[in-house]
Amino acid sequence: MRLMFVYWRTGDAGSAQTLYGYAKAAEAMGHEVMLYAPEEPFPVKCSLNLESADAVIFVLEWNMYLHPGELPKNTVRPARPGLMGIGHLNLVRLMNRVPRERRIVIDDDGMYNPITSVEGDFNHTSEEACRLRMETYESLSDKIYQPTLHPVLPNVGSFLFHAYNPALEVPLDFSAKELGMIYVGSNWFRWRPMMRVLRALEQVRSCVGRVCIVGRDWDRVPDWVESPLREQAYYTDPAYLHGLDIDLLPPIPAQHVIATMSRAVFNPVVVRPIFHHFELINPRMFETPAANTIPLFGLNPRYVGEIFGDRARELVLDEHAADKIADVMSRPEYYADIVRGIRRHLAETQSYQKRLQELIQIIESKGLVALCT
């Protein structure tokens, strides 16, 4: 089968690594994965040739029009018009060539939901924006899926989309760690969940060692973003971070994420409040267990158990989070054994091969399918 994805062609976009995982898995399984996009250098082949496409999968996120970030400040970004940068006229061609039942929407950020606000995070800025976004998805397809086991709306299917790649696993070895904790990820609505981790860390700060946060917008609120989104999505407290002696480091290329996470004894796994509310999966959730580190989940235990297996609940940061952090620091080998179990579980249940089979099932179905993930 030849599958074409519509997604940003920038290496640090959220799902770029996921698409690369699909491309590799497809190659091994006798399928082909491409991006529907003007031809340009990118790890996944780009093409505008729709002739032999069996399906088009739209991977849609908060920002469908302009991918922020990736270039240095004051650099003029090459224009990427139209949906996810494919060009508005190319979208016309796609809509004509690919029948509706062969188009699938992956609603990566839970935008196809009623307007929802959780702990200062939200999926839409207004009712009107919500209506327009949902209308857009419905214009594209009847097959709308979200990477959660529990979609809210009855016309949305569950498809986790992101996957685990055992080939990325780094052997667990805690004999010579330079850092106690590292978090790799940008701010973007994550201040509150990060704050919960830091409050716990604060109580046991002296036994953790060096702590780093790697990513965008932790050191200052970006002035190029308009208010009120600037304050809502990028709130940070650099003075507090400084007081906790946390090193803030710039973002790194996606291919260095696992190696960077591996520098520390443990990595918190935190998601935006709205992701937590909708129990959405993101790529980092599957990357962290592959790194040479202990993932500590700032998520609810049921959510963690469903995805990572029952033993993973032991790695949840609950009301005794400070004790958990101290315990991880003092006996990492014990927790490493749990991580090995998580890895086995993910390799069996959340691999790219499995995801691809599910995707093909979705493509070939007449309506929404209930996957047995």
Partner: protein
Amino acid sequence: MRFVFVNWAHETHGSAQDLHNYSRVARTLGHDVVLYGPANPASAFNYSMEIRDDDALVFIFEFTTNLEQSERLSFLRMLSRVPRHRRIVIDCDGKYNDALNVVGDVNHPDAASSRRWIDVCDSLADRIYQPTYRPLRSNVRPFFFHAYNPTWEVPIECRDKRFGMVYVGNNWFRWRALRRVLEAVEPIRPEVGRIGLVGHGWDGEQSWGGPMATGDAYYTDLPYLRKMGVDILPPVRFDRVVPCMGEGVFSPVIYRPLFDHLRLVTCRTFETPAANTIPLFAQEVSFVTEIYGPDAAELVLPERDPQDKVLDVLARPDYFGGIVSRIRRHLAATYSYEARIHELVDLMRN
């Protein structure tokens, strides 16, 4: 019937005049014409983003169709709402053709661009129209989107004009055509009086119309214009075009070479005869008479001794004014917005 026109309109070029007039005239005929886009009280256009299942979608494609500021997901909304049989494409600039190069004027930078354009148009509709009697491709039909409005007409009165000649229009590949007119004027320059050139790009400004693969789009010869004593004036909004042309005893009607080749008409085709001026046509006689009727042959700038024609117009404006009156009657009967709207309704019902 409700028509939704799709065009990324600018008030100082493209089909601005037509978009405004269709909307106004449709109302008098019991129809509705809106321009797709967010409402803008400061604009002269009747914008709406509402799309209904029974709307007729008219894609008016010009060079702006490719521009990136186009409304992002409009096509998506339109295509999912309005069935294919209620959509038509009007290809105003002759881009629904193979890649053509007519003395430096091009419709596409290369063959791939042509194929892509054709593919986009075919993706939107089965019915493709061009404003020419002679489409090159067999699946294209003529539809004269641009039209004539008798209410624009200003009585011809050629005394006490500020200018001998005025041309109102942007450069955009028109240098060669303008140069030919100016060369006709050159031997009799003192008799013509003041010459005005109103529009973008004649002074060598480079970026007003976006990038173009060939330099011919922006080519101009400022020293020559200075030598000829031509006043270069800024562009005017579409509703100032007819009064502005009326400031000259005569106004040349010039097209891009590509448009001459494809015999495409533009909004200016119909605006010039309505102004208080004598139009002087720089096209082939057969093309001119096909559009304006047989009387217009006398207003064609001849290949030989064109300066004699200019002198004659300057000397006998009342005589040539009589010809313009007959042209106006012909255009009013044949190319009115009313006629065009009836035609559009028939197209959609068929």
